[in-house]
Chain length 453, copies 2
């Protein structure tokens, strides 16, 4: 298990930085209520307040200077987000005021919360499990309806429930093997071999089902990379512009994504598509152009979908198509024939025929893009979906251990060997929900949070 | 009085836009509680909740889709910010989530709040007066300790109290005149002339005291414009850099301030100084340079303080000084002799001698800048200070009416004339605190607010 160091009382601004109508400062830990009481003047002491009540009053320094009038909400353990005594101070939305109040609290021996520490404490105090904690940051960062729904699904515990159910199945199977171990010295016939294999297979099948949701889960969580490739003058830019106009363009900036290939983000049916307008991927002697080509190649390599664009006047380039296939695999390519407004019957074969002028065929293009991106499977809101690579890795390791256990069983190996691998599988599953974890795993997860969550 | 149209129930995001740990949506109006109840699923109905209580639950669409788990605070009239039934919904800090919840509420016939509408309702419901409402936006936008303190002072009602006290004095004086009016036809001797003049003078004196705080009030609210002017190579830039290092540089961006003259903002003893590094104000034939000169001149004109910088090697330019005097008036100029690290005794006269290398004299420069900016008067935290030009205008109009009333009295005019001007003065004072107001005044004030406040 992990080190619990939540004897500290922590404080952080919980609302986005900047000027607004109100701001909220969060305090959590054993001394939360008594510390805020030191700087809060209201009709009654917070220490006498019931949980889940709101109190009007003022924040005043030791020297009697009034900082702000505030609303203070009191939450008593275990009925708070963190599971600890907590206080939320709602102030006028001025960075100066929140800074002064936080400084005051720091001078009363509170410390600034680490990123994600409130949620980490919620996890350490068993308010939520690890997949739910991870979902918190995904919910906050969700930028499309689909990703929000996916993260909510995880926050609501659908994945946890499924993983717990698989662990249950494994524990029952283990007890089978352990029963056998207990009687091993008595040389009892290994009657349960087939039954054991069947049970292991059942869990493997369930894990496979979960693993198969990952491509969908990843897509709704992270979006779909789409590269637009084609010879000059086939209307790549017009097509991009039409898509931006028709779909719901997402304007928010993503920190850390600066690449020279033009990238636009759009939401089509709630799914995030990241469109890369590539300069071209053909070999060139020109140095600057070479650089462009190498960037375009990179864009194609990371793409989930490649739009190979041609037009009614010129055939698709076979060379280009071949190169794309080696870069990304043929099943990711959509051949888009543009400019059908100019000539209805070109006799050129394509997956979809469009006009970036009239918009004809664009809906069909969207449908094909979506199908390529998320596959044919559809998941209901009640299906557990894996969208996090950590969970995917844990599940894969669990499956590997189970396959070894199965082979050992088939090979008539002793129960001790089988038991070890079953336990490994169990541990891998436990890691997903955080019942087995390390400081490194936790730090890695919570460092991705913002401060105040 | 003004049109009250707060039968609507309004909603707005109250925390700054963007991603954060939590976001708060504010709802206020007669249907606030019942409307949120329609989309909130908790342990009990909010309609059954007591005021100032917090409730954990989920926001769910009509189709049963879970949007987020939330904390909902209930405030019952008149004990809320607006004086109406109000609800605050604390969600995960995702723009998508807050947008969806606000959309849900809009579909339940709420409408988006206008800028400042929550505070406007607080004013219309007599929770605060107009100077306090105006202070709310100043508190939020305050960028230095001093401006925050000044706005708090006003929010706490110090100016209102003073204005109410002056109105009280005027009402007593009016009753004096009206008494006289009642007996006018009985041709009673106008015995109270001196007494009346004395009373009017008393109010004028008090108004003068308030008016005299305006230069201080404006400085702490808006900051001090400082232009740095001097011949090339006197060390203007080094001095600017030293000041930035020594004072507390303010990093936040101010929207809408793009000018080519370099502007830096620093806080010295809690007062905001806006430093303009001018290219030079001397005439030039070069077109581009001319443009720079004209910008520099503008910077000097709007300056409250001009630092005329010279160095120990070269005398201050008399021409430059003359030009500055015509642009800004001599009492705004501080002559700063730089580079005293090179030569201690230069024999050149200056207001302050400094070294931008060793820092010698900089503290003294700060002291002089502060004295020039806010004058010699010092105000305690309990002094009412006028910092808003609207208040200043109202006070000036009140004073003008009183001066007319005084002249009429001295001139032996009939009481009816005097009464009219006394009533005008009263109205001007009432306008400050909003007891007399118009839609235009209110719209002008509240349009400066952000939405959600």
């Amino acid at each position: 298990m992990t080190t619990i160091k939540n004897e500290d009382t922590i404080v952080a601004l919980a609302t986005p930085a900047g000027v607004g109508a109100i701001a909220v400062i969060r305090v959590s830990g054993p001394k939360a209520i008594e510390t805020v009481d030191k700087i809060f003047k209201g009709r009654k002491k917070l220490s006498e307040a019931s949980t889940h009540t709101v109190h009007y009053g003022t924040i005043v320094t030791g020297e009697g200077e009034l900082i702000d009038d505030v609303l203070v909400s009191v939450f008593r353990k275990p009925n708070s987000y963190t599971g600890e005594d907590s206080v939320e101070i709602s102030t006028h939305g001025s960075p100066l005021i929140t800074q002064k109040i936080i400084e005051l609290l720091l001078s009363e021996n509170l410390r600034i919360a680490e990123p994600g520490e409130f949620t980490k404490r919620a996890f350490l105090n068993n308010r939520i499990d690890l997949t739910q904690a991870e979902a918190v940051v995904d919910v906050i960062n969700a930028r499309t309806e689909a990703s929000l729904r996916g993260s909510r699904n995880q926050l609501d515990g659908l994945l946890s429930q499924k993983v717990k159910q698989l662990r249950e199945m494994l524990i029952n199977t283990s007890s089978f093997v352990e029963l056998e171990l207990d009687f091993a010295e008595e040389d009892i016939e290994f009657v349960n071999k087939d039954e054991l294999i069947k049970r292991i297979d059942d869990v493997i099948n369930e894990i496979d089902k979960l693993l198969s949701t990952y491509s969908f889960g990843r897509v709704i969580r992270e979006g779909v990379n789409v590269a637009l490739v084609g010879k000059p003058n086939v209307g790549k830019s017009s097509l991009l512009n039409y898509i931006l106009k028709e779909s719901r363009a997402i304007v928010s900036e993503i920190p850390g994504t600066t690449r020279d290939v033009i990238r636009e983000e759009v939401s089509i049916d709630g799914i995030l598509f990241k469109l890369y307008d590539t300069a071209g991927i053909r070999a060139s002697e020109d140095v600057i152009e070479k650089e462009g080509v190498s960037r375009s190649r990179e864009a194609v390599k990371i793409s989930d979908v490649v739009l190979l664009i041609g037009d009614v006047e010129q055939k698709f380039s076979d060379d280009l198509e071949e190169e794309l296939k080696t870069l990304t695999g043929s099943n990711h390519i959509i051949k888009v024939l543009n400019k059908i407004d100019l000539k209805k019957e070109s006799g050129i074969d394509a997956d979809v025929k469009v006009s970036a002028i009239t918009g004809e065929g664009i809906e069909e293009l969207f449908r094909i893009m979506k199908a390529k991106a998320i596959g044919s499977e559809s998941y209901t809101e009640k299906t557990a979906v894996v969208s996090n690579i950590r969970h995917y890795d844990c599940l894969k390791r669990a499956k590997e251990s189970l396959q070894i256990a199965k082979e050992s069983t088939e090979g008539g190996m002793s129960g001790e060997f089988i038991a070890v691998d079953l336990r490994r599988a169990e541990d891998s599953l436990a890691e997903i929900i955080g019942e087995v974890t390390t400081d490194d795993i936790l730090n890695n997860i919570f460092s991705k949070f913002c401060i105040g969550k």
